[in-house]
């Protein structure tokens, strides 16, 4: 096993553990923080796959911008949301069974994920994927830049309209008309 393989497996394990915690943790802030770890691990995996530029973008946009957005949303939402979603009700055996499959204990999401991955693995195993092509990959940043402003210049401009729509949309939905709504609602 080479160093690269070990690095990949370690990063993949961190990514999956963090994602599992995202789905199962009780407290939403914890979920958001585990999400950051998962994003960083994905960035690391990009690095093992020689995608240096995406490594940087992943850190900046996902671990940076999107995380900031999510944390903002959690902070601005009601304080009740910071607590958990409550214990499964009931007592005795029924309760124990429910706990076992509850999303809190984390067996159910893990089972769904493993089941899904098992199906996909059986599909992938029956598929003759190509091996690694010979030769070192070219530095991807240069190639991405060329593609982005050559072949993909139209999608690039289209993405700018998507961002414009997101900006207009975010403003139009959250703009307060003279701050009236807020004052009325808050005690």
């Amino acid at each position: 096993m080479t160093g690269l393989q070990i690095a990949f497996l370690a990063l993949s394990a961190v990514m999956l553990f963090a994602a599992w915690k995202v789905v199962t943790s009780d407290i939403i802030v914890h979920a958001a923080l585990w999400m950051v770890l998962s994003f960083v691990a994905v960035a690391g995996i990009f690095l093992t796959l020689h995608a240096e530029f995406l490594f940087a973008v992943q850190l900046l946009v996902y671990a940076g911008a999107i995380t900031a957005l999510v944390i903002f949303a959690i902070m601005l939402s009601d304080i009740r949301e910071l607590r958990g979603e409550g214990e499964p009700a009931g007592a005795g055996l029924g309760r124990r069974v429910r706990r076992l499959v509850s999303r809190r204990l984390g067996l159910a999401p893990a089972a769904v994920a493993v089941g899904f991955a098992a199906v996909m693995y059986s599909v992938y195993r029956a598929t003759p994927w190509p091996g690694l092509p010979p030769g070192d990959p070219a530095p991807s940043t240069l190639a991405i830049g060329r593609e982005l402003f050559g072949t993909y210049v139209v999608p690039f401009e289209l993405a700018s309209i998507v961002l414009l729509v997101a900006m207009v949309g975010a403003i139009v939905l959250t703009l307060r008309e003279g701050g009236r709504e807020k004052e009325e609602k808050r005690p």
Binding site: V23, I66, A110, G131, P133
Partner: protein, 102 residues
């Protein structure tokens, strides 16, 4: 070298976790986080394929780049929607938003 199937299985596991989170959770912010996990799984697939198809082909990476861009736009709009609701009603649970039935 890293076998391609490792990348694909990791991505499938991540996608499965995200899918479960998106379906089982009721809090809108949590569903959004779970969807982001699914998109990360897609990006892993794309970057993995891009590396293995040819050493010079970066189509998959460019695609992943656009997915990240759109994900950011989508997250911004989604959180604006959640904020709009929370501001007026102090809930962000989809379950508790039940004026209209599922």
């Amino acid at each position: 070298m890293i076998p391609l199937s490792w990348v694909l299985v990791s991505a499938a596991l991540l996608f499965g976790l995200g899918l479960y989170g998106a379906l089982a959770r009721t809090n809108a912010v949590r569903i959004l986080i779970a969807i982001e996990l699914m998109l990360n799984a897609v990006n892993l697939n794309l970057v993995g394929f891009s590396r293995y198809l040819s050493p010079h082909d970066v189509t998959g990476q460019v695609f992943a780049l656009f997915v990240i861009t759109v994900a950011a736009a989508e997250a911004a709009v989604g959180l604006a929607i959640i904020l709009m609701i929370v501001r007026q009603r102090d809930v962000s649970d989809v379950d508790r938003i039940n004026l209209l039935k599922w």
